[in-house]
Symmetry: C2
Subunit: 762 residues, 2 copies
């Protein structure tokens, strides 16, 4: 117990040092103002509690040879994780200049929250972490994601009582219903009640203890209450790990969890300038704010740091003394060096069967239909079968709705709650994770990927916005990780967005929103990729590519409803490899300069463009039309903006520099302008897309509401191609009349005209 306390004091000392000191790390001389950082940036409040948990968990790891990682929900207590890694030696292994001695300690202190140094929060730079401590709410979902398919792992997850108020965290407690004791590891939640967030008490610290216990029992856990005392924590941890063993071998249904109640800012200054700090929200950031200017504060800081008795903890060279190090686990089990927390180190490539086996046979383009996601389902089934411990398919109860049901030929939905006779495909260990929470799907998958596994998240397009913020944070994690040499590449985060804006006609306006792509392209070009395959074979090719990639966020938008098959498999592969290209069979320019370019991206816009082209071919046979389909949206950007960006020469060759381009796009039209505004021909670009018109109506009526329909496209061509306006006024009027007729039919009969619905190129 003394060793644990020594370790804890050492970690606390190092934490305070990081927040305050530029120099004099061992307090070998009295503190002077110039030893103090000019900007005091850090969060002390949560830190001693995090250190307390580290110290005690280390004993368990050492005594039980337990494989464990640590997720710090209150990750703004970054100093704790850094201190821990330094004490374990792994910090110096990753960053040799921050050695485990006085000079290294000086650098450790100086770099923290300092320009050119390390972030104030737990971040990719922090060894042993898979969880950024910025946006709160995801620690427990990340922890479960890390535990899935790691049967010997315990993921200790400290949940702050502030974070516990967030929605995603509140939902995450129920993740235990998706855990398989045999095939998965275990999550040990430690709810840390220090009572306060930034400027307020926390809800869970202020409800009756009886209610808190019931809440945790209601979530399906066995709660253990612990106060701020070593003996108590040690005793409870022994009990808890015995219960975990019982859970693992089926003697116990419920997982244990710990409620740890400590003062906020524990062991820090109790009162400053007559105001209580320790045990209040005032301890959240720096308890002493005027250290450089106020000699009394400087003295308090020195007294505070000396209260940890550094002379007992570090030798004259600044190295931790044996008593501090003795409670550490074996090198191979150090949490700060766990390969699970640098997942790329243990990542194995997916075993991918040949997606060509699932190809749709296409005899002639655009003459037959397939449901792209249904075709993809067969491929995903094989991926699941071939990777029974390293691939998961996430979805908020939409996997069947998105027509990926073939996966259930190879697996089940993960489910560890009660079963009924009418249930289908529910079992512990199922590879499909379905819960009606996009937050959980995303959080689980992030945790799974960052610990070295693979996955895909299928979701209704509109509702993926629910995890915009989580996507942002994951993209930022990847952006940062790429700059850190020891962070090895992890599998990409793959989204399949189906049930998209153009075919949510039955669910209506609330389900119609293609704006996630606009959020995605704000992130750095070297981590984001967007694909809009227009048919089944291109979807197969794109998905295979995404599943092989590393360190990206790939977004695939593909419909579940029947769409025309446009490409044979070989053509699809070639088309997707180029990312965009001319559809020669639909074009009438025959290699010459066209009069108009009909560009399209997305399955429904492509269909309407083709149908418009067919009308033009029949009615304006002299008009030279070029049809260009875009699968890889990032190809449109400048090569200086995105690695997939094509040169101006390529762009000009495809789109011309002076001919009208009628671009029919899946999402909000402005995105195409944003991607192409520097192109020579941009002034001639006219983009159609979703302009926020929608309701419960038929598919073609949805297209008409937003002017992406075939008839309107023909009108656009007449309006834009020089000389056609006057000459083809009658055709333009005919198109306008045809639209009115189509709408009238829809309103009368409740369905689209058969000749529109069943249109093919033939």
């Amino acid at each position: 117990m003394q060793r644990i306390d020594a370790y804890w004091r050492a970690a606390n000392y190092l934490s305070v040092g990081q927040i305050y000191l530029l120099d004099n790390p061992l307090l070998t001389e009295p503190l002077r103002p110039e030893h103090i950082k000019p900007r005091l940036l850090g969060h002390w409040g949560t830190t001693p509690g995090l250190n307390f948990c580290f110290a005690h968990l280390n004993r368990i790891i050492a005594e039980r040879d337990q494989d464990m990682i640590y997720i710090a929900g209150p990750g703004h207590g970054g100093p704790a994780a850094v201190a821990h890694a330094w004490l374990e030696g792994s910090y110096s292994e990753r960053y040799p200049e921050v050695s485990q001695d006085a000079e290294g300690m000086r650098r450790l202190f100086r770099q923290f929250s300092f320009p050119g140094g390390v972030p104030s929060h737990v971040a990719p730079e922090t060894p042993g972490s898979v969880h950024e401590g910025g946006e709160l709410g995801y620690s427990l979902a990340h922890a479960y994601g890390a535990a899935f398919d790691n049967p010997d792992l315990v993921v200790a997850c400290v949940v702050g009582d502030g974070e516990a108020e967030t929605g995603p965290l509140a939902a995450s407690w129920h993740s235990n219903k998706f855990l398989d004791p045999r095939r998965d590891g275990v999550v040990l939640p430690i709810l840390h009640l220090n009572g306060y967030k930034i400027a307020n008490p926390t809800v869970l610290a202020r409800i009756p203890e009886e209610e808190l216990v019931k809440l945790m029992e209601g979530y399906g856990y066995r709660p253990h209450l612990v106060g701020p005392a070593h003996q108590e924590m040690a005793r409870v941890l022994d009990e808890v790990f015995d219960q975990i063993a019982a859970y693992k071998d089926g003697r116990e249904r419920r997982l244990p969890m710990i409620v740890l109640r400590t003062p906020k800012g524990w062991t820090g200054p109790h009162t400053v300038d007559g105001v209580q700090i320790e045990g209040t929200w005032r301890a959240h950031q720096v308890p002493l704010a005027q250290v450089r200017e106020n000699p009394a504060h400087l003295a308090m800081l020195e007294e505070w740091m000396r209260s940890y008795r550094p002379e007992e903890l570090f030798d004259a060279e600044g190295r931790p003394v044996p008593d501090v190090l003795r409670s550490l686990p074996d090198r191979s089990l150090r949490m700060s060096a766990s390969p699970h927390a640098n997942g790329g180190e243990i990542l194995r490539p997916l075993v991918l069967s040949d997606f060509r086996d699932h190809a749709v046979e296409v005899k002639a383009p655009a003459t037959q239909s397939s449901e792209p996601t249904r075709v993809l389902g067969g491929f995903l089934r094989d991926v699941i079968a071939a990777n029974p411990q390293s691939f998961r398919l996430m979805g908020p109860d939409e996997t069947a709705s998105n027509r990926l049901s073939a996966v259930f030929e190879a697996t089940d939905r993960a489910w560890n709650a009660a079963l009924e006779p009418t249930d289908e495909h529910l079992a512990p260990g199922g590879r499909v994770m379905e819960v009606l929470s996009e937050h959980l799907c995303q959080g689980w998958l992030e945790g799974y990927l960052l610990t070295g596994r693979h996955g895909l998240f299928n979701c209704y397009e509109a509702f993926i916005h629910i995890i915009d913020a989580m996507f942002n944070q994951h993209a930022k994690w990847l952006e940062s990780s790429k700059k850190i040499p020891w962070r090895r590449p992890v599998a990409s985060l793959n989204y399949l967005l189906s049930s998209h804006v153009w075919r949510q006609d039955h669910n209506g306006f609330s389900h119609q929103d293609p704006g996630f792509l606009d959020v995605v392209v704000n992130k750095k070009a070297d981590v984001v990729r967007v694909y809009l395959p227009p048919d089944a074979n291109t979807l197969l090719s794109v998905t295979d590519h995404c599943l092989r990639s590393r360190d990206y966020v790939n977004v695939i938008v593909a419909g579940k409803q029947p769409v025309l098959d446009l490409f044979t498999l070989d053509e699809a592969i070639a088309h997707c490899t180029r990312g965009l290209g001319i559809l020669p069979w639909a074009s009438t320019d025959e290699g010459r300069e066209p009069d108009v370019v009909m560009a399209c991206s997305g399955d429904v816009p492509t269909l309407e463009t083709l149908a418009a082209t067919a009308i033009l071919r029949e009615r304006l046979p002299e008009l030279k039309v070029r049809v260009v389909n875009v699968v890889d949206l990032m190809r449109l950007q400048q090569p200086s903006e995105h690695p997939h960006g094509m040169s101006d020469a390529e762009f000009d060759a495809l789109f011309t520099t002076d001919k009208p381009v009628i671009f029919n796009y899946h999402g909000y039209p402005w995105l195409i302008h944003r991607l192409t505004y520097r192109r020579h021909g941009h002034h001639h670009l006219h983009v159609r897309g979703y302009k926020e018109e929608g309701t419960t109506t038929t598919p073609f009526d949805m297209a008409m509401l937003n002017d992406i329909d075939r008839y309107h496209l023909v009108m656009d061509v007449i309006d834009r191609v020089e000389g056609l306006g006057a000459a083809q006024a009658h055709l333009r009027q005919e198109m306008a009349d045809t639209r009115l007729k189509a709408r009238a039919h829809t309103r009368e009969y409740g369905e689209d005209l058969p000749e529109i619905r069943d249109w093919t190129w033939a």
Copy 2:
């Protein structure tokens, strides 16, 4: 009880009719295929349960003269809400063509989920609703928002067991800690366990009942379990409303809640084609899918509909018989006609004191500093004091951090949990709502606004992305509402985004994200407004304007750190009224055509632009520089795209058509291109902004990382203004060197150079 059952059968009959029938509403003849809709779009599964609750709550309303509204979490059970409104007569009042007779019933059936008709979900079109049934998770937060400051109201909120798995809903249960029994109304949650979502069982239906009860007790409620039986529901409701009375007068601390367990698709076909439907996930949408094609299904539908004995429920003219209507409450208490659910009807303008009283005195522009949000805090304090029952300030524990603390001179934070002696400004009935959940802040505020009150949501800029999806849904609600004549305008949803990207230098990369604006501008121009006031007085003026507006979403981005005061109050009002304008004192073009336009939007970019202009003035005195500041971002768009958009003539006069424009923007630079790509001078526009570079560093280093700093702007001017490149190569080099020096200083000393940090125009 028989009357309740009759009402319930009538509602169920009307619900089935909406899903299936085009004609023959009263089944006066045998059903034929042509009576059936060609596309069967609707959700039966949840509907009978919703109808059951309506029927029973009506008895309570009638017996107790209880003011009540109804929120249907499973809003895809839209037929229930519509049936209810039709039976209460309010549907026909809102839509006279859908009369309360056979012809009206025919129209009611036909229009549902039909082109040109009404959405399949509960939506703005549905009388009595303040909650769209599309994206799940927000019903309970909306319910609490509606209950705040409505002391006599009970908000009955049916929570689906699917929705209950979402994060926002899981967090919402704790809203009871923010309710004041004296000043607020009451929420009655009815957790409807029908056991299934789209294709899966639900978690809460499959955990042991003991755990479910503990969970609800842990959330602080008194749960009442009810099965599918009238007597039981009636008995429990009597008990529950007695307990609500006890809660209201302080005899009881906890609110009651109901767990209602029924089969999914209750009273629908039990088995179809040998497969069980009722009581399984297969009842989610339409239990009989082949009614037009399959005579057996057609017969089952008729049998199903006749099982409700319509001949007992409706007279020969299709009017509900007295026995059905007798359980209805008094006209003035009908839930489907509640003015609370059409908040604009009861909205009163805010009492706004003169924001001029809070103005900062500005003797000379850019020579002194204020903290804009701190100044705003004084104005908000007065707003709160003057509107003690109709204005709330929401924030995820960031109100003090965002420096709005002056509000605590007039009010407290709402808090109805335990208190400690060290607490400050916590009390039931406080006007400031702080919980660490952006979802709750947003959901409460939406419910509060839609029931006719006012508010403002202050949030860290980066984390407002957490509610992207909720913003989308609220904007869609407003977009739809504006087309519905009987929906009266409600107060705008106002965001104040502070602690923004440029001054999260201490929290680092995870806290740096200005992309919410990109999400916002995707919504329809007639509901979104974006303001970037550059100083304290413009922030006051903009906020006053937003608080007076209706039916918009207003986004204000403003810093909390000291920024230079640029405008006197009168100038600020004039500048904000125009939305953008030249800063003559900073410009050197003196009314002539400038050589370069330095445009800026946002406080930090404006500061850097001014500092760059000062360098240019000194070093290139001959150069004619025009400084344009943009407050109202939507002014940049074409008038055809946004009502605030300015004409090309205005734009050209400000920005020229051929001179370089160096636009220093707060957010991702592409947005400015997107807003201006059609302008004549667009090819000469060079936008600087946040390009996803960030970490924990100093403010000026953040600016340099993203090239928005003064020195880089000078370099941009040299690069873009014809003739300067060669002539001023030395100045360009000097600027580049100065940047390196600034960075080196920062890395050495941990703070910015004083001449940069303390720069003013003087």
